[in-house]
């Protein structure tokens, strides 16, 4: 467990260092995640390794770690009420647009490139003809 955590912290520190040196506005842990991904791929890391064990233990309780940040909402309840309309429209609208764009792009490119289809069973019968 401690070995795995040491590795995770090392990748995070490396990510933070790169962000500072390159002076980019990308969060350090995200760069650390990218570096760890490359490392795991290159090493063909398997599930019994210390990084996977420690990392999976953290990920099981990922939600716990953002409670302190989320509690800050108590200071913004007024703002939420005041801007309820722009917030809800932006959240829902952008969610729906994103969902449609990702789905259609993936399906379109797949057909274009001739990849085999993998449709949900039974879904094709009712609506094959648009």
């Amino acid at each position: 467990m401690i070995t795995g955590l040491t590795w995770l912290l090392a990748f995070q520190v490396l990510g933070e260092a790169i962000v500072r040196v390159l002076d980019v506005t990308v969060p350090g842990p995200v760069v650390g995640m990218l570096l760890l991904f490359v490392y795991l791929r290159v090493r063909r890391y398997d599930d019994s390794g210390s990084i996977v064990r420690a990392g999976s233990a953290l990920l099981r309780h990922l939600q716990l770690f953002f409670i302190p940040a989320g509690v800050g909402i108590v200071a913004y309840l007024g703002l939420l009420g005041e801007h309820a309309l722009p917030i809800s429209v932006a959240l829902l609208g952008s969610w729906l647009l994103g969902l449609a764009v990702v789905g259609w792009t993936a399906v379109g490119l797949e057909r274009l490139l001739g990849a085999p289809r993998d449709d949900l069973p039974g879904a094709g019968e009712t609506g094959e003809v648009p």
């Binding site: 990392g55 716990l64 952008s94 990702v102």
Partner: protein, 235 residues
């Protein structure tokens, strides 16, 4: 209440206990409801801890430093998101191009549409910045909002709410949009609603769930890289 007991109630020890107990209560509720998307442990915990600090009259800044012990692990846990990505990467064969293009286009769509819709309806800049990150997984949304100069606690809540809406409605909406390919469905949900959406897809179908998990990781990366660039144009 006695002054020394009140001090104890406001101490880091008690605030940590309240936070962990709220989280446990949320997990209990999640199990009891059979994993319903609305029963997110983090929401229950935020409600419990938020009520506690309001009643006890504790400043949020004091609560935040009392719970640093918990918040610290958000960074290493974000790094650890590489693990599920690594496990799913073998499924990518023959699907790399559609996947990468769709995720990047989707990230740009999410960011730009959130900012413009909010602006159209009269939100201020801090709020627009906060909304722009909401499709990323919560830890990344928080970190990005912080670097952008938005409002991190709201970023957390926006990301969670987006995830919940998606977890409840996405399969039906995808049917309406006539998106039936399992990989594309998983991809779409993971790209716009991260882990909470992905866990719903995993219950629906293994392929959908795996691609949702994959899209969550890639989308967090794409959003992190695109937001600073798009911010130059948008703000």
């Amino acid at each position: 209440m006695r002054e020394d007991l009140l001090d104890l109630a406001r101490s880091p020890l008690t605030l940590l206990l309240v936070t962990l107990a709220g989280y446990q209560a949320g997990r209990w509720l999640q199990t009891r409801t059979g994993g319903h998307a609305l029963a997110q442990p983090v929401l229950v915990a935020i409600a419990v801890a938020g009520t506690a600090i309001t009643v006890l009259d504790v400043d949020y800044a004091d609560y935040r430093s009392a719970t640093e012990l918990i918040a610290f692990w958000l960074g290493p846990a974000t790094v650890a998101l590489a693990i599920p990505l690594h496990r799913q990467a073998d499924r990518l064969k023959g699907f790399v191009v559609p996947l990468l293009v769709a995720v990047v286009v989707g990230a740009a769509t999410s960011i730009v549409s959130a900012v413009l819709l909010a602006r159209l309806l009269g939100a201020d800049e801090a709020l627009e910045k906060t909304l722009s990150t909401k499709a990323a997984t919560t830890p990344v949304a928080i970190a990005l909002t912080e670097t952008l100069g938005g409002i991190p606690p709201l970023a957390a809540v926006f990301a969670i709410v987006t995830g919940i809406v998606s977890a409840i409605t996405a399969p039906a909406v995808l049917n309406l949009l006539r998106i039936r390919d399992r990989r594309a469905r998983g991809l779409a949900v993971g790209a716009v609603s991260h882990g909470i959406g992905a866990s719903r897809m995993l219950r629906e179908d293994e392929t959908e769930g795996a691609f949702a998990g994959l899209a969550m990781g890639l989308s967090a990366l794409a959003i992190s890289l695109l937001v600073p660039v798009l911010a130059l144009v948008l703000f």
